[in-house]
Symmetry: none
Subunit: 225 residues, 2 copies
DNA sequence: CCGGTCGGTTACAAAGTGGTTATAGACCCG
DNA sequence: CGGGTCTATAACCACTTTGTAACCGACCGG
């Protein structure tokens, strides 16, 4: 599930991005209207979080541009007490809005509700990078055009995390937190095991990993070339 | 377009009713939880506006009861600063909310947006996918040109949910919520049973399910090819 | 060399999941 | 009331997934 975050406020952009990444979204960001439209075309996100108050009030224009080419759900961010803006946004085709300030928890709940309504609750648009695609709702992965590989819950989370950060090394600690949620930091054995099991499933020769490579002393990374 | 307004505050109820009548809605009203459910069943409204703060906090219960029998859009009314309630409501299946106080104009805009979103999935037509058709009034299903199969209430809801998401996996949790309303998540046994019984009815060989397939660790899906 | 850590591997125990059968309570209707 | 259907609960089995432990070889600093 890919989400595009459009906001000129760098801090807020990063905050939202972090929260949604943690929640399992693949995040792309834009800082202004023109680049938002460009990135929208390039990345084809499944949902857009769009700040309405940007230099040039271009939030409306972005919403309009998006609506002109797609019906993806759009969540508007507004400041309170600008009801007129709000109505305008909704009539322009935005699907929901959130008034600042809001907690990440709220944003997440609303975003989920929005996606549920749009009937795309982790539907289509499987997470993908290179030759690997991940179908989260079916708990399967596919390499190239091969047969789908069934993954367990934990394997899914591991691959999801690596896939959303494909090409970059993900530290063992981050993986531990993402997969198990908080544990004694000594629990590397679990990760060791999980990596081993996932390799058995996705590597042609698990002894010489091609995709799931080890970054000694740091963590693991997914090579997608 | 029929709207059910549920609010214990008589003035607000009348105000909203007036505004929506002016806007061309057919309005029915209820003043408390129990009568709301009764009127919902009797009137089958197309959309519900539901106050969350009613004696006995029964707004949640009403939302739950409505979700248990239908997927009509529900707009919640809340007072500001009760974020927990809000999240609870959205997770219970409400589709949108509005914080008091609000102007009739806002309510109308939001309601229209809500209906537009839900509009594409308005399901007057007999639910069908592939060779399977579901007759909700008759509580029967039909496969190909075969004889109608009588279904129980729960079997109907299960098949309905799978049918509206045919081809995609539906998580066990979503099924539990849709079929039973809200339960301890530990109640997988019920779902297990229900799936088993439905398979007995619709599969030619229940041991090798053709339509109702399980996605291990994820949920179930209906294959319609 | 030696002991230590690190990552990979093997083996096994513990916990969980899904299918099935059986049984008892709930509910409905004549 | 009685008989039927529907639903909830439990128990069992086979199988999968996950957690834990031990062993191995590579590497590294003393």
């Amino acid at each position: 599930m890919k989400v595009l975050i459009v906001d000129d406020d760098r801090d807020l952009r990063e905050l939202i991005g972090f929260a949604l990444t943690q929640a399992g979204f693949l995040v792309v960001k834009a800082a202004d209207g023109p680049s938002a439209v460009r990135i929208f075309d390039a990345e084809a996100p499944d949902v857009v979080v769009l700040d309405i108050n940007m230099p040039g009030a271009s939030g409306f224009q972005v919403c309009e541009a998006i609506r002109a080419r797609s019906s993806v759900p759009v969540m508007m961010l507004t400041v309170r007490s600008e009801e007129e803006d709000l109505i305008k946004a909704l009539e322009l085709g935005a699907d929901d809005y959130l008034t600042k300030p809001f907690s990440p928890k709220t944003l997440l709940a609303r975003l989920k509700a929005l996606l549920r309504r749009a009937g795309m609750e982790s539907a289509a648009a499987p997470l993908a990078a290179g030759r690997i695609t991940l179908n989260i709702e079916e708990h399967t992965a596919q390499i190239g055009g091969g047969a789908p590989i069934r993954l367990t819950k934990l394997e899914l989370r591991l691959l999801q995390m690596l896939l959303t950060n494909s090409g970059r090394t993900v530290s063992s600690d981050r993986l531990l937190v993402h997969i198990w949620g908080h544990r004694n930091s000594g629990d590397r054995q679990l990760l060791k095991q999980l990596v081993h099991r996932l390799r058995q499933k996705i590597e042609t020769d698990p002894a010489i990993p091609h995709y799931l490579q080890t970054a000694a002393g740091a963590g693991y990374k997914l090579v997608v070339d």
